[in-house]
Symmetry: C2
Subunit: 149 residues, 2 copies
Amino acid sequence: MLQPFDDNYFMKKALQEAEMAFEKGEVPVGAVIVVKNRIIARAHNLTEKLHDVTAHAEMQAITAAANFIGGKYLKDCTLYVTLEPCQMCAGALYWSQISRIVYGASDPQRGYVALGTQIHPKTVVEKGVLENEAGELLKRFFIQKRNLN
Amino acid sequence: MLQPFDDNYFMKKALQEAEMAFEKGEVPVGAVIVVKNRIIARAHNLTEKLHDVTAHAEMQAITAAANFIGGKYLKDCTLYVTLEPCQMCAGALYWSQISRIVYGASDPQRGYVALGTQIHPKTVVEKGVLENEAGELLKRFFIQKRNLN
């Protein structure tokens, strides 16, 4: 049976955001936040353009989703993000009490899992959704960057 | 000898920000960021007003300071914050490579120290500056909140 609104579908939307970051010369990470199969926030990394370390895709998506909802808690929401969240983003997701986090590629060096950041007990996490696509995009970005320098 | 621009001086400025948060019904935490004895960013917690868990004093101060500097790294900067940073804020401070963090009251439950958040190796941390004042303000806030509910 066709499942138009499964995790792959929404992760593809997050990947489209990551590609927009790539085109701007930003580390290509994208995110969307979904409630009942509806995307309520889309964002991609903008740390270079904004000169702001806090402008990760997840952080912008959290702010935008809360703005849409009109409340700070992201209950019944799912975040799709192409790369495993860092300490900062996992810390923000903790405060948001988001219901579900789905991420693509793992980040063994800077990701929250290896660094032991606490996720809210109400939050379910799934990983590895379209991880190859997300990982390939990141790899391509860093190869291109190396060749330019 | 008089030292007008010592840590106490700048922490008092952060406390003034915390008092502004208190008056707005926000958890009273304030922050300033200083370069060469000059305050380049002031902020206080606005999570309730903005419906945004990312609106901690430190996060806003990091964004404002980077905006002032025109770059995302907060080298030669000191953050003064009245309460020990949480995972999210410590994670953001990691990315900023800030030179120095000075905080007032400790937060054994939600603070980054107990939760093991990684701080950048270039960052020096000092704690306990005007901790009683910062702690009293927080205590007053939570007593008042309890009495209102």
